[in-house]
């Protein structure tokens, strides 16, 4: 088996410990993230772990890549501390506000520029937006195959993989050829903790930053203006308690209760 080169897509997301401090910006219809510490999206750590296990078995290089504001340099350094060989940040004001299509367009342009790879591994979805679309869209832009909800990955030979993916009521086993994009779910592995020995080097590691100028992209397809998705409204669901008394004998009361629950759409 020759070495396997993997690209792992990672996303900084708001740390769930601080979710109670998150607020919505009604004007821009976005989450206010300022001041909320970010963490690597949890499923992306499973993606990185899988890439590292493959590297430890067959050799090769693991590159972590993210499209995010410049503060994500620290998240990418964490990816290096966990074990990635190098990291690339795509950061430019013009990328801001991009939906999944605009984001995957930029990521795929950067991956094209990076050159040869065997696998792209993503977390199946992000903790914050959770669309699960960016992975498959990158694959479409690159014209390669993809599989989502991957729970197991084995190499049968050079460029030949067998994988298992979770379906709603079971599992599917499939074989595929590389290069391929895989989105993984948490069943695939248990991510490692950061070996403390790697922290010192990772903190000093260079994270490459590419802007729109470094990429061969159509500027009408990036950022908020290049996004076909329009967020019409963003609001917190209102939680209210309300009591309602139902009188009568147990028989009539239970009938009335069922009728009322049907009216409310609960049953």
């Amino acid at each position: 088996m020759p070495p396997v080169d993997s690209i792992v897509c990672v996303k900084p997301v708001p740390d769930s410990h601080y979710w109670s401090q998150l607020t919505l910006d009604a004007a821009t219809k976005t989450l206010r993230r300022e001041g909320i510490p970010s963490i690597l999206n949890p499923l992306d750590k499973h993606a990185l772990e899988e890439a590292l296990r493959i590297k430890e078995k067959f050799g090769g290089k693991v590159t972590a890549i993210s499209m995010a504001p410049l503060t994500a340099i620290n998240n990418l350094k964490e990816a290096i501390a966990i074990g990635a060989d190098e990291a690339l940040l795509l950061s430019d004001k013009s990328f801001a506000g991009g939906d999944t299509l605009a984001t995957s367009y930029v990521l795929s342009a950067a991956i094209k520029k990076l050159g040869r790879f065997d696998l792209i591994i993503c977390g199946n979805k992000s903790l914050d937006a959770g669309s699960g679309q960016v992975g498959p869209e990158i694959a479409e832009f690159l014209g390669i195959a993809h599989m989502t909800h991957v729970t197991k990955l084995d190499f049968l030979g050079e460029g030949h993989i067998r994988l298992e993916r979770a379906l709603e009521h079971g599992y599917m086993t499939a074989e595929a050829r590389t290069p391929i994009l895989l989105s993984v779910i948490k069943e695939i592995n248990i991510p490692r903790h950061i070996p403390l020995m790697r922290i010192s080097n990772a903190a000093q590691a260079e994270v490459r930053v590419w802007t729109s100028k470094d990429l061969d992209i159509d500027s009408s397809l990036i950022g908020l203006s290049g996004s076909p998705t329009r967020v019409l409204d963003l609001f917190l669901p209102e939680m209210k308690r309300r009591g309602e008394m139902i009188d009568g004998t147990p028989e009539t009361a239970s009938k009335l209760l069922v009728q009322r629950l049907r009216e409310l759409g609960v049953m």
Partner: protein, 379 residues
């Protein structure tokens, strides 16, 4: 003046916090109920490099310094003071070899200690006392190329876990009459004695070290014969005491988080109790103790990393953080009401753990004595 942490230190904090939440937190209740030592957690910490934080790179350690160690112990103490104490005493046991060991001792023991293949401790305290170091009665008599050690150490953390550890024994009289040795648990004549049953820090092993004609090669003397007092005081002041302080800081942090979260969620008279001024005062008292302890603790660690003497600062931090931990745990229990006294919830454990930190590495009275020495130079 610079009050921030470096990005490297921030990454260390985050990594240790994630480890503590994922690997230690699920064991805390079981440890408290059974006092079992979670050996698997210790092995995982060893593999990730936790034991070697003060060991130089060339011997396989992190070469991380005292601020890094404080970050590590605060984060572990936030989840389990028992695990913080286990780890900090491992660092304590290693430190005399780092500071005063011969090149041969360093080459022989530091790599295995940094990797956690052998755990460590440092034995000073005896049934007659701990802070009165000159009063210890364990003897080491030179016989040819060996010393023969006889005596008993008590209240020693990691007594039954340690494979390579330091002890201090009498080789003469007076302040030059003590000598520090490296002992391996497989030396004939050594055995761990009774295991203590403590009310707090349960899951952290404490017990006796018994030496009955235990033969130790003369090459195991740390520094020179007669250096024992200096080495013991240095290790306790610069490593043992700040280790307990950092664990106590973790307890205070835990009190703050527990008390704030509970008071926001507990509804009385139609609103969360966090909106009641009586509760807010308790919360701010805990918050003040956290910030004050934090500044004292990290300041003394920072002084130590600069190579400055900071015995008084270490004593002040230890005094404030350990007494603060007891105060804060009591206030957390008060905020929780009866729930605070239930074994299933954290506050009562935090109080029991905090009580154990009061006497370790010197009581508050001894801390006052140490501070007085510096206070008296102020005019």
């Amino acid at each position: 003046m610079e009050f921030g942490f470096t990005s490297e230190q921030e990454m260390l904090r985050k990594s240790v916090r994630e480890f503590a939440e994922a690997e230690i937190k699920p064991k805390v209740q079981h440890m408290d109920e059974t006092a079992e030592v979670p050996r698997d957690v210790i092995e995982k910490m060893a593999k990730l490099g936790f034991m070697g934080v003060l060991v130089p790179h060339e011997f396989g350690g992190l070469g991380g310094g005292h601020v890094s160690r404080t970050i590590m112990l605060e984060e572990i103490g936030r989840v389990s003071a028992a695990m913080a104490n286990t780890l900090q005493v491992i660092h304590l046991g290693i430190s005399p070899i780092v500071t005063d060991g011969s090149p041969e001792q360093k080459a022989k023991w530091l790599p295995i200690l940094a990797r956690g293949e052998k755990l460590s401790t440092f034995g000073i305290t005896e049934p007659v006392g701990g802070s009165d170091i000159l009063g210890i009665q364990t003897t080491a008599k030179r016989e040819g190329d060996e010393y023969v050690i006889n005596g008993r150490k008590c209240f020693i953390t990691n007594s039954h876990l340690a494979g390579v550890f330091g002890i201090v024994a009498k080789t003469g009289e007076g302040s030059k009459g003590l000598t520090a040795f490296v002992v391996q648990s497989d030396y004939p004549g050594f055995r761990p004695g009774r295991e203590e049953h403590k009310v707090g820090l349960r899951g952290c092993n404490t017990g006796e070290l018994i030496f009955q004609n235990c033969r130790v090669p003369k090459e195991n003397v740390i520094g020179k014969e007669g250096d024992g007092l200096k080495i013991a005081i240095g290790a306790i002041s610069n490593v043992g005491r700040p280790g307990i302080t950092s664990g106590a800081l973790g307890i205070i942090r835990s009190c703050l988080e527990e008390a704030v979260a509970y008071s926001k969620q507990r509804v009385l008279y139609g609103k969360p109790i966090s909106e009641l001024q009586a509760i807010q005062w308790k919360l701010t008292d805990i918050y003040m103790d956290y910030e004050a302890s934090r500044l004292l603790t990290y300041h003394s660690a920072w002084l130590r990393d600069k190579g400055e003497r900071c015995d008084s600062e270490n004593a002040m931090a230890k005094f404030w953080a350990t007494e603060g931990a007891v105060r804060c745990a009591q206030k957390t229990i008060e905020i929780f009401g009866a729930y605070g006294c239930m074994r299933e919830l954290a506050p009562q454990r935090l109080l029991r753990d905090a009580e154990l930190f009061l006497s370790g590495a010197g009581t508050s009275e001894v801390m006052r004595l140490l501070m007085a020495r510096k206070a008296l130079t102020m005019a």
